[in-house]
């Protein structure tokens, strides 16, 4: 009897979610062939609520076989990006008219209420049901957007700046690629990754649940507030191929009125591109660790319990893992003694955790189910180049 009551209660509660501010979307929309030049209402910032359909925001729309960006929705890219099971990412930013972010050299910019970031995770399609295991060279927006016949859309995550802070909303695309629906509880998506040499690998791509978004974006365990991670000076300071030609992103954001107070790009911090063969190994490795690990492994992040800090501002060798003992790694040590043993990647816990796909061992803990072979190689090279010994 009590059990029945509990179930009834939970059904009741489940039905109490805030309704979307707009009318509920159709459950299974027909794929309408919208002409690309048909009028498109302005971006809609929802000051509260959690719209069930991504389309309600008017950021992105499917039209003429492409995923298109609304006007003033600005695509951007990072020098070195987080690895997410080889997914490619289309990132966009939008701010209300007349509003701008305030530049900060180190921390996230101060973004105005109403700012909407979107990040669409997609894969180039391979033969059959496969998707390509390939490096992300930035979104191909030629012709007005991502060509849907060539890509498989997985999810679009929004990070929205409201009066009381940022909120994260994960939207998952349907198989027809006509609609992305809010999936607050996240999801597992099974993918066949096809490599250039023809080999295949199974990925269990995880769409995070809303609380897990904070696993990365909650960079301060005490305040628990969410923060955007990518849109910082050092990550954004690079060129982007805009419709009217390539331009530095900091300069372009300033030009379109999205950014105030930025110095000349040459005077702003700039992370290395981890794949740039001309950049120093140290800079590439640190950029990689910063964006992949530094949001947790910092003095304030969830990984601070380990005493290992891998964010851009940390300089002390011990803090960066050099000859550092593991604390609560459990079997994540891989029977190795130190986070980093100079010159010995095969004796370093850091690489062991990167080559693992066991959820209880691997790092990062979230957002990865396959090994980033190229990233592992970079960190191996970096450790191999380090001099000295551990006591």
């Amino acid at each position: 009897m009590r059990y029945v009551f509990a179930v009834a209660m939970s059904l009741l509660v489940a039905g109490c979610g805030k309704p979307s501010a707009d009318i509920a979307p159709q459950a299974a929309p027909q794929a309408v062939n919208i002409a690309a030049d048909s009028p498109w209402p302005a971006v809609h910032f929802f000051a509260d609520g959690q719209p069930a359909d991504l389309a309600e925001w008017n950021l992105l729309r499917v039209a003429d076989g492409r995923l298109r960006l609304n006007r003033d929705v600005l695509p951007y890219d990072l020098n070195t990006a987080l690895f997410s099971d080889y997914a490619h990412k289309l990132r966009t930013v939008w701010m209300p008219k007349g509003q701008a972010a305030q530049f900060d050299a180190q921390r996230e910019f101060d973004f105005p209420v109403g700012t909407i970031f979107s990040k669409t995770f997609y894969y180039p399609r391979g033969e059959g049901d496969t998707v390509l295991r390939s490096a992300d060279d930035g979104p191909d927006l030629a012709g007005g957007g991502l060509q849907l016949s060539k890509v498989r859309l997985i999810e679009t995550r929004l990070l929205v700046r409201r009066q009381d802070g940022w909120i994260a909303l994960p939207y998952v695309w349907n198989a027809e690629q006509t609609q992305a629906r809010l999936m607050r509880g996240g999801e597992l998506v099974s993918l066949q990754l096809l490599a250039s040499d023809g080999s295949r690998e199974q990925a269990q791509y995880t769409v995070p649940d809303q609380n897990q978004c904070a696993g990365c974006h909650g960079t301060d365990m005490k305040s628990k507030a969410l923060h955007p991670l990518g849109p910082r000076a050092r990550h954004l300071n690079r060129d982007f191929a805009y419709d009217d030609g390539a331009a530095n992103q900091l300069a372009h954001w300033t030009k379109v009125g999205y950014l105030h107070g930025a110095p000349e790009p040459a005077s702003a911090p700039r992370d290395a591109n981890w794949r740039d063969p001309d950049a120093p190994l140290e800079a590439r490795a640190r950029a990689y660790l910063d964006i992949n690990c530094g949001h947790c492994h910092s003095p304030t992040g969830p990984g601070n319990t380990s005493g290992l800090w891998l964010d851009a501002s940390t300089q002390e060798p011990l803090r960066l893992g050099r000859c550092k003992l593991p604390i609560a790694a459990g079997k994540g040590t891989g029977d190795r003694r130190h986070d980093i043993v100079p010159g010995k990647p095969d004796e370093s816990i850091l690489t062991y955790r990167m080559v693992s796909d066991d959820p209880s061992v691997m790092m990062p803990e979230l957002g990865r189910s396959v090994v980033h072979a190229e990233g592992v190689q970079l960190i191996r090279d970096w450790i191999a180049a380090q001099q000295g010994t551990c006591g």
């Binding site: 509880g185 597992l188 809303q210 005490k222 604390i327 079997k331 040590t333 190795r336 006591g391």
Partner: protein, 410 residues
């Protein structure tokens, strides 16, 4: 009989012989078999964690609920309550994603009357929060001890005002009940079995550990300090516990601090200051009933990793415990050799083993005060174990009693 076969038979015979030399290994049988609950509840539960408000009580009805991804809670003031640790089970068998079963970043959190089983990583991790209550909770890896099991069962870290009571932790490949980098902690009336470390208090200030049972672990109750963390621990009282037969072979991954704990350790104090151990029943721990050691004995001899770290245990008070048995079959060649050298093949270590590392510049000495034991052996770690000493005079001292922990919960 040709040579290779003979050799392998011999090897097998030797292996069998060696295996039989250790203390008898107890077998773990799973605690409870719970029938699957309503399949839809798993999603409902996840949604309730997302939508939780301060003051919510989230009820988990009887039944076993399976999750293939970890669960997270980030809202203060939430209680998760089951119908009992053998009735309501959150099962993570076959988990595909997430490093814990349940991850909590919140204050005024209560978890009670529930079980967490077979998570890939830690069972329950509470990272950063105040006023944490874990009551009548079972965390278990149902297949028994295995290096493949998650590291920690109950794992509050960077927390303040923590109460763990009437709980059970079984099968953790590191520590069953592990409190790290926390302050003001009580662990009581709980049971830890078949873990590498049963109960471990690490880099924690102000903890009372009492009325617990620790048995069949590799090490029963550990009070540890590790270098390069946010704080050093101290002011820990361990009393009225039953700590016996912690003789399970060490199945921790090498490189972890606990992997150096010899099987058959009752209580271990490592690099911690201000620890009081009294009124416990400690028996039949095959290496020795109580070990006092420094980080140098945990396989780390690296001074560089410990710039501002005090590696020496100081102001340790051991008195009024009831000790018996143990010390007869130490784990590891070094300790076996040491025991044989001092006490002969059929002899055994006394109740307390100290590795002998002390700060030479401290004029009052390490202040390790020990009474009411069968003996103490100083293993002479700094001297390469060459001149162990059985002199008990250095331990004839008395320290002021540590205050009881008051969580001020009325």
């Amino acid at each position: 009989m040709n040579q290779p076969i003979r050799a392998s038979v011999l090897a097998l015979a030797v292996a069998a012989l060696t295996a039989a030399c250790g203390p008898e290994q107890a077998q773990h049988t799973p605690t409870a078999q719970v029938a699957a609950g309503d399949a839809g509840f798993a999603d409902t539960f996840r949604t309730r964690l997302l939508d939780a408000k301060d003051g919510d009580v989230i009820e988990v009805p009887a039944g076993r609920y399976t999750f293939d991804r970890s669960l997270t809670l980030r809202v203060d003031g939430v209680t998760i309550r089951g119908a009992g640790p053998d009735k309501s089970v959150l099962s993570f068998k076959g988990q595909k994603a997430g490093a814990e079963g349940l991850l909590v970043n919140a204050s005024r959190f209560t978890l009670e009357n529930i079980a967490i089983e077979d998570s890939k990583g830690d069972g329950l991790k509470v990272n950063e929060g105040e006023h944490i209550t874990i009551r009548n909770v079972r965390v278990e890896w149902t297949g028994g001890p295995s290096t493949k099991n998650g590291a920690y069962g109950l794992y509050p870290v960077k927390t303040r005002n923590v109460l763990i009571e009437n709980s059970v932790a079984i099968g953790a490949s590191d520590a069953g009940i592990y409190v790290g980098q926390s302050r003001d902690v009580i662990v009581r009336n709980s049971r830890a079995e078949f873990n590498v470390a049963g109960i471990e208090i690490e880099n924690t200030v102000n903890a009372d550990v009492y009325d617990n049972v620790a048995t069949n672990n590799t090490g029963g109750i550990l009070v540890f300090n590790m270098p390069a963390l946010s704080q050093q621990g101290g002011a820990i009282r361990v009393f009225k516990n039953k700590v016996f037969k912690n003789n399970t072979a060490n199945f921790g991954a090498k490189g972890t601090p606990v992997s150096s704990v010899p099987a058959g350790s009752g209580m271990v104090v490592n690099s911690n200051d201000d620890v009081e151990i009294f009124d416990n029943d400690i028996s039949d721990n095959a290496t020795t009933n109580i070990i006092v050691s420094s980080v140098y004995s945990t396989g780390y001899k690296d001074d560089k990793a410990a710039k501002d770290f005090d590696p020496y245990p100081e102001r340790i008070s051991i008195y009024g415990n009831r000790l018996s048995g143990g010390g007869d079959s130490p784990d590891g060649l070094d300790l076996k050799a040491l025991k044989t050298a001092i006490y002969g093949l059929s002899g055994h270590f006394p109740d307390v083993l100290w590795d002998g590392y002390a700060n030479k510049d401290r004029k009052e000495g390490p202040q390790i005060c020990i009474r009411d034991v069968s003996g103490v052996v100083n293993a002479d770690g700094p001297g390469g174990y060459k001149n162990p000493s059985q002199d008990t005079k250095p331990y004839a001292c008395e320290l002021p009693k540590l205050p009881a922990i008051d969580l001020k919960r009325g």
